[in-house]
Symmetry: C2
Subunit: 267 residues, 2 copies
Amino acid sequence: MADPQRLSINQITVKNWDLEQTAAGLARHGIGGIGLWVDKVEEVGLPRAVEIVRSHDLSVSSICRAGFFTEPTGNGAVSDDNRRAIEIAHETGADCLYIVCGGLGPDNDLRGARQRSQDGLAAMAEVARDAGVALALEPLHPMMAAERGVVVTLDQALDMAEAVGDDVGVAVDSYNVWWDPRLDAAIQRAGEKVISYQICDWLVPQPHPLFGRGIPGDGVIDLTALGASVDATGYSGPIEVEIFNEEVWASDPDDVLDAVAAGFARV
Amino acid sequence: MADPQRLSINQITVKNWDLEQTAAGLARHGIGGIGLWVDKVEEVGLPRAVEIVRSHDLSVSSICRAGFFTEPTGNGAVSDDNRRAIEIAHETGADCLYIVCGGLGPDNDLRGARQRSQDGLAAMAEVARDAGVALALEPLHPMMAAERGVVVTLDQALDMAEAVGDDVGVAVDSYNVWWDPRLDAAIQRAGEKVISYQICDWLVPQPHPLFGRGIPGDGVIDLTALGASVDATGYSGPIEVEIFNEEVWASDPDDVLDAVAAGFARV
């Protein structure tokens, strides 16, 4: 059974709350970890976000998200958005900053988009290193390859992270990787490069490709086995629940936190 | 440019036509290949289906589809449906019979479902061998892992096919495999085990996860490069266009065939 002390809630799970409401809500439910989104931080301003997080004694498990290296930007330079995300991760003391590489880009060149991702990650890692921020490269589900993320397997993310340097990690998100026949081997290969672990469930039937993720325990992913594989790497950090789901978003966020905590305890 | 002589049309692309209409339609458009679906064959009866195919001098590039080893059946025995599909492939002289392994099954056990697929494939291969029918194991897109196919990469399909024996092949379907960072390596590894090649395109934005496939050339898959990789294995057989798309199905099938032939020539 998952240690309730490891539960962290990604802000998107209670999307309709702002940061103040979320921090207060997590306190009511005795949850000590939060995953922040850049836009939700900007909504209240970074200094105030830091105050809110500190005053509720919350541990920031991640910042979502930066990257998007495949969009046309400025000649491989680190974008202002990516520099700002690093600053937010630094100021909030987040465990890591999530990196999503972006989709095919305007020329629909898969190979080129992957190369731009590799180059963009390398450039960004230098800035992050100077700021003492850990980057967590996240493979997305292959169904998002065209529009959101050309990095689609944990092995591919590891190849890229290793090419950049020892201080770039990877994120394991159950929804994105559960189907991979090489998953156990890739997690084992990753070892201490696993620096973040997010969970949600795959519902059957799938209500919606993007906004149909399930509360842990409500779907078909063997989260108990996956958690054991992740823990076997030595990872003992937060387990962040991140749910994109229109039905969940339409519910009372306090009820959602109750359901998530109950599901979390089951898996 | 693709050789128009290699174009074959999967029946699902012109779903609203029955076999007689499809055969006549293909003749009108000068297309010599057809991929048959079991249910469309049963609709007219197998003997009549054979007559229709022969009288129009059509070459049958594939039968879709058999397998579904992960559903509860009879103790690993080859199901009547699978035996019948083999008979249909034999009688119609099809190049191959597509094998889709099935989803997680009632117990949501991914590892178990993959083992049942391996065992089911082995049992079915014996029956197919006796009938002189080639099985083409098809990896499905990972987004279908839960509900339709736990075999999701070409490498995984090759591992399974190799474990069964030299006479089990694999099918490459552009929609299912285009995202895979290991695709080129896996196709090269497959070599002469590639016994069928199906194409359609991945549309952006994706209209629907299952029924939003595009006419070749309308989406983001580099079908020219993929075709070159497949041909480099020595494969010189039919290129079958298989499109699941509600908008395509709502169109006049003669217009669809015109559009498919034009798209095919472009890629």
